[in-house]
């Protein structure tokens, strides 16, 4: 664009030349409009093909084989899948994960929503409260694991100390108890977290007119909440529901750091099973079968949620 200053001195174009130039420009514009979007999404397309589509198909194939990376895969038909359901360890991990999903996902949604509603009341010190509210979420997993082990520790732990201080006879061995341990992980992860931030952002987008209108109609705060705020938040609820569902199926960092999945598989979750069978035992075929079962479960749940969402999610302007 540095040559703009020279254009005044350039000879005038003949009409035909001018036309040709216009045509060329139009062509270039058409080219840009058609091709440029694909240039923009080319990395995305390559990523999907190389790191999503191929691995999904590959793991489908390998789920019917015995494969340890070092030797070529051997076709065994449905054996991996049959073994899965006979293995009590696998069944327990699946049970733990489903329990985790069923309790922790709705719990997290409710807590996140309540926190966001609370932190949306225009009181003094709001900024400070919002900042404090996200502090627990900023403690990295490894740090949180260390603190949690300490808090739940049977001998020196905070929980048992508090129970003793209150004179309650509920002292437990907590993380060392194979039945108790999964509930600790389930309840520990019921947090607003990032979902709370998303609800909070959603609350900022509810038009003030709706609140005014509801006030004029004489609605109580409770009625306003049920009839205005919650329906307007449903797109955010759907987003949070889907992302936390998928996150819940992948949950394993906490148990892995704190208990390693023990004791006696009490805190082994499905994702850890996939990791262990693939990268500790090198049973890639087995891991692929595990992954595919997870895949099918997720697809069924996600499709169900999507189908139902038509009846409960409200999108402004249709």
């Amino acid at each position: 664009m540095t040559s703009t200053g020279l254009s005044a001195g350039q000879p005038r174009l003949q009409p035909s030349e001018q036309e040709a130039q216009l045509q060329r420009q139009a062509q270039r514009r058409r080219f840009r409009r058609r091709i440029l979007p694909f240039v923009f999404i080319l990395p995305w397309i390559l990523g999907v093909l190389l790191f999503q589509a191929y691995p999904i198909l590959d793991s489908f194939y390998h789920s019917f084989t015995v494969y340890d990376v070092f030797q070529p895969a051997k076709w065994v038909g449905l054996r991996n899948y049959r073994n899965l359901f006979e293995n009590s360890y696998t069944r327990m991990a699946l049970q733990n994960t489903l329990l985790y999903v069923v309790v922790s996902v709705p719990g997290g949604l409710v807590v996140g929503l309540l926190q966001a509603l609370l932190l949306n009341v225009k009181v003094r010190g709001l900024q400070l409260f919002r900042t404090l509210a996200i502090v627990p979420g900023t403690v990295p997993a490894a740090g949180a694991a260390a603190v949690s082990i300490f808090i739940w520790s049977p001998s020196l732990g905070l929980i048992n100390s508090i129970l003793e201080w209150l004179g309650l006879p509920w002292r437990q061995s907590w993380l060392v108890d194979p039945v108790m341990v999964k509930w600790i992980f389930i309840f520990m992860t019921i947090q607003g977290g990032i979902g709370m931030l998303i609800f909070l952002a959603g609350l900022q987008n509810v038009p003030q007119e709706l609140y005014d209108a509801s006030k004029i109609d004489g609605a109580h705060s409770m009625q306003t909440l049920v009839n205005v705020t919650l329906p307007m938040l449903t797109p955010y609820t759907l987003f949070n529901l889907l992302t936390s569902l998928i996150g819940a199926f992948q949950y394993f960092t906490g148990p892995m750091l704190m208990t390693g999945g023990g004791p006696a598989g009490g805190s082994t979750f499905y994702a850890q099973l996939i990791y262990e069978s693939a990268f500790i035992l090198f049973r890639m075929g087995h891991a692929a079968a595990l992954a595919w079962i997870l895949f099918v479960i997720c697809v069924v749940i996600v499709v169900t949620v999507f189908r139902s969402s038509a009846s409960w999610v409200y999108y402004e302007g249709g």
Binding site: P43, L132, V135, T138, I151, S155, A201, S221, A291
Partner: protein
């Protein structure tokens, strides 16, 4: 809550209405304060315990009645000793590497793709977006093993390439989706005006859409950094080499290696590990909620 009916209130804008509103507001605010305080106390208890314990001496670790939240005397010994046990700056550097090597290429490729999905018309864009949404909902574990085998075949395990290459290819469907939603809400008038002024598509992207999307981009930076600070799976698979280990792996081995007597040190190191995230979250959160409340750009 004793509330006046609005019709009455509108008819009598006198003293009673004023008082009624005030008492009502007072009750609501007090209730809000009580609830917020209750929730913050429960949520912050573990963090407070972590902070407190990190300054305690060994014999203060015993259960005391009542529970001692604030240590007396305060000791910095845990920090000194815990710091000496591992080469923490080394692990911190690796964690930062992970955040940058994943973050920068991901942000670049995902914003470009999201821009095309949101604001350019092309064949099959709807179908491709549907694919993106479906991919968002597939757990990582499904593609985990084949991806690892692929990387291993390429000889990339033990290098930073498994972090960099997939990130360059927009391998973050959730980010593409969220950014696309945000970009879509930016009014077209601005980009149309720029186009008439002779601005090309990349210029519109860089000069108009990106600056207007700062809040959401800031959120993405916070999310990626916090991923790097929390990740275990990726680190276990690709960063096992001592020279590449991240803080999470270092903490994991620290947890396994130290006995009951080292709680103070572990808490001290957890505090140190959390501090950068707290600072980042503080600024990110301000930027984020501010951005959403102030920028009234909605279609």
């Amino acid at each position: 809550m004793a509330s006046l009916r609005p019709m009455q209130a509108a008819a009598l804008p006198g003293n009673r209405y004023f008082l009624g509103m005030r008492t009502r507001r007072f009750i609501q605010h007090t209730l809000a304060y009580v609830l917020i305080a209750a929730f913050l106390i429960v949520a912050l208890m573990p963090v407070a315990w972590m902070f407190g314990t990190s300054f305690k001496t060994l014999d203060q670790l015993r259960i005391t009645v009542p529970i001692q939240w604030i240590p007396n005397p305060v000791t910095f010994e845990n920090y000194v000793k815990g710091w000496a046990v591992r080469d923490w700056p080394h692990f911190l550097r690796n964690t930062l590497f992970l955040a940058v090597f994943v973050g920068v290429p991901t942000m670049a490729s995902c914003t470009l793709a999201a821009y095309a999905f949101a604001r350019m018309r092309f064949r099959g864009s709807e179908a491709l977006m549907l694919i993106n949404i479906s991919l968002m909902l597939i757990p990582d574990q499904v593609t985990l093993v084949p991806r690892f085998v692929m990387m291993a075949r390429m000889g990339w395990v033990g290098t930073w390439l498994p972090a960099i290459i997939p990130s360059m290819l927009a391998l973050n469907p959730a980010m593409v989706f969220v950014l696309r939603q945000f970009f879509r809400a930016i009014p077209n008038d601005l980009s149309d005006a720029a186009r008439i002024d002779g601005c090309h598509e990349l210029g519109i992207f860089w000069r108009i859409v990106v600056p207007l999307s700062r809040p959401i981009l800031a959120l993405q930076i916070v999310l990626i950094t916090s991923w790097a600070w929390n990740d275990l799976l990726f680190s276990l698979l690709y960063l096992k080499d001592k020279s590449m280990q991240t803080l999470t792996l270092a903490m994991q081995s620290f947890l396994g290696y130290r006995g009951d007597t080292a709680w103070g040190q572990m808490m001290a190191m957890s505090v140190l590990m959390s501090l950068p995230m707290m600072v980042l979250a503080y600024f990110g959160q301000r930027y984020f909620t501010e951005g959403f409340t102030l920028s009234g750009i909605k279609g």
